[in-house]
Amino acid sequence: MMRCRITYRKTAPLRYTGNLDIQKIWERYLRRAGLPVAYSQGFHPQPRIQQACPLPLGFLSQAELADIYLDDDTLRPDDITRSLQVMPYPGIEIAAVEEVDLTEATLAGRVTATEYLAEWIDPIDADQLASRVFALLNTPQLLRSRRDRDYDLRPLIEALDVLPADSAHNTGLCMQLSARQGATGRPEEVVAALGYAPFDVRYMRTRIYFTD
């Protein structure tokens, strides 16, 4: 058996596909690519595919990570990349494949923070955004309510910067949010806290941070 870490981009065709369904898609992708995915033991064997961190529905990503276990130890990462690229799956773009030690801790248990780009679908006033960001960062506490649970958003924001518009992009934000057990910040909550409609914005995950 071998364990491979796949870094991939989640693109438009899978934008509205949730985490459980992405798991199925990976199973089908590997079957199509002829890669012998390993199954768990027990009454209902499941393919051993572990995603690092669930991506909210409607988000795109430049930096998704999944560990897959294969019933083979002769394959090299290059072979796997090639197999995956020969039978491409719409919505998944392979960025890197590397072999990792079977004993290493799961990715999901090591996530600490995630980074997102939030770009407005239509142009907005960048100065107004900048001043709201400045004010927000100077607030000690940001009490919000999500799914009937009150919480403080402010400590979950680790970094927040305005990205000025250019020829290809509208004004946006780059934010780094905590993603620890029980302390996960959501980018659309940040947008809402800034006083903007959260669905006027397109979200893209750009990075997942892990402990070593």
Binding site: A12, P13, L14, R15, Y16, T17, G18, L20, D21, K24, I25, E27, R28, Y29, L30, R31, R32, Y39, H44, P45, P47, L57, G58, Y89, P90, G91, I121, D122, P198, F199, D200, R202
Partner: protein, 638 residues
Amino acid sequence: MTFDHTMLQKQLERILPTVQKPGRYVGGELNQIVKDWDGVETHIALAFPDIYDLGLPNLGLAILYQTLNAREDVFAERVYSPWTDMELAIRKSSIPLYALESHRPIADFDILALTLPYETLYTNTLNLLDLAGIPLYAAHRSDQHPLVIAGGHACYNPEPMSAFIDAFAIGEGEEMIHDIVNAYQAWKRSGQPRATLLKALAQVSGVYVPALYEPDYHPDGTLRELRPLDPAAPRRITKRIVAKLPPPPTNFIVPSIDVVHNRVAVEIMRGCTRGCRFCHAGFINRPVRERPVGEILQAVQTALKQTGYEEVALLSLSSSDYTQIVDLVDQVSKHASENHLTISLPSLRIETFSIDLMDKLKGSRQGGFTLAPEAATDRMRATINKPIAADQLLETARAIYSRGWSTIKLYFMIGHPSETLDDVRAIVDLCKAVIAEGRKIIGKRAVLHAGVSTFVPKPHTPFQWAPCDTPKQIQAKQELLRSELRGPGLKMTWTSPKDTLLEAWLSRGDRRMAEVIYNAWRNGAKFDAWQDQYRYEIWQAAFEQAGIDPAFYTHRMRAEDEIFPWDHISPGVRKSFLLGEYRASQTQSFRSDCRESCLACGILPTFAELRRTNPGKQWMCPEVPIRKKKAVLEPVAS
């Protein structure tokens, strides 16, 4: 109007995060076919008028999608009904219903082709037309509007929907759809008015153009005649069939979200020779044609490679009757166990051999083992022509419980013609006998799930003359079942009498039903197939508004010589044969499986030419010695 793709994308970006399962509305799935819009001559939207989750796995549309897109001059796309939340959102933003591949408005297409496999999709069909901005009534459409066609099992009685559909495709679509497209293209190039197109379509074998006919009724409301208004309109429309089943589709679209069936589906056989008298599918899908084992295996392997699916369904009306079933199951199961695949094999006969088959498939025993005895007394079984001995059922049940299944599902129907409360009580006794066996073998783990639906006499079956049970009769029967079919391990589900009534009105209706359907839609009826959406009162009001008594369609015994609203549609089976079967049901006479000896239903003379030009053993009809007398020459239907 030019199509602004970017604008639509921006609108959708804002809407989609606010609706349930937005993945239903974006397309882009694995194996979706996209072509350059301006590079093809004819654009066809294939529609299933219910949500994506139900429509995507529809095998009929998958077949048409593949065969149409194989043509360079055609681009076939998909469209489904938006769920209520999405409907509200797109209506609010004035977004017209769009196709999933190109995101173009449905109104921009040449042809909108709907599948109507069951009747409770009718209000959804109207809603879909409305969301697309296409006039609901065929008579209100102009040359600029798409041609609206429909096919599928419900269309064997097209009359209730005849005001809304330009042309019905009766029977199997694999070849007929191309004839329709060719006729459309010829018309479009000619620059003639829409009426010319309708006449041309009426010349295509299997196509019914309702606007070319007019009904005439007796004073008692029954039909006197459906009169052709044009020489182009044939008196009788005989369904189309394919002489030989073409290779099955393999390049299935794989949804990016969970839908009702996530699997490769291969039809191993079409039709059924059992002749159960209640069964619509059994009479309209004749003759039986099987696919060779090699072709099925090839299709399964290719489809698995193309989709990555982990489940395969081998579909037919009666798996046990497939001639090479053991060979097929042996080969498929070998492949399955090596690849973590699940194989499903529905519609097995009630015999221990069926358990051997399921054993070979080594599938999970979690879902339970399903059998369909349909009735519980010998009298009822003879009435419906489904002979099963009670001890054979018990023996099968014992074997199922002792070979690893803890749940058995038994499907029954109440409301068969002449059924009494004693016949219904026998369902209780039979279920109790089965669970008693289960408890002897595996104790308290044994479960029996009885699914009891209510019979609706369907057009083109021997029971088409029979009335439906009244709601009172249904309630009494269900009450008896609910009070007596209880005990440890026993579970029962049933159909609401109100659901049954709707199905009956819609399946047995005539042209006057169109107004009722329209009223119901106007008053908010949609998703009638969904228990939590269907509203009986809307339909009652719709009948009242139209001044029509619903009981006329449901609770009336029809005279043997009554002209039915669907008599001009021929499934190839003679009306006189159906009447013979109806009489046989009244004397509780069994008829054999017609693979053994031909019962002269009418299929062979109807398609004699087709069979002659396609010799071989694909048809399971036995050879009939040619008689010189009238039997062969008797016209189809009376």
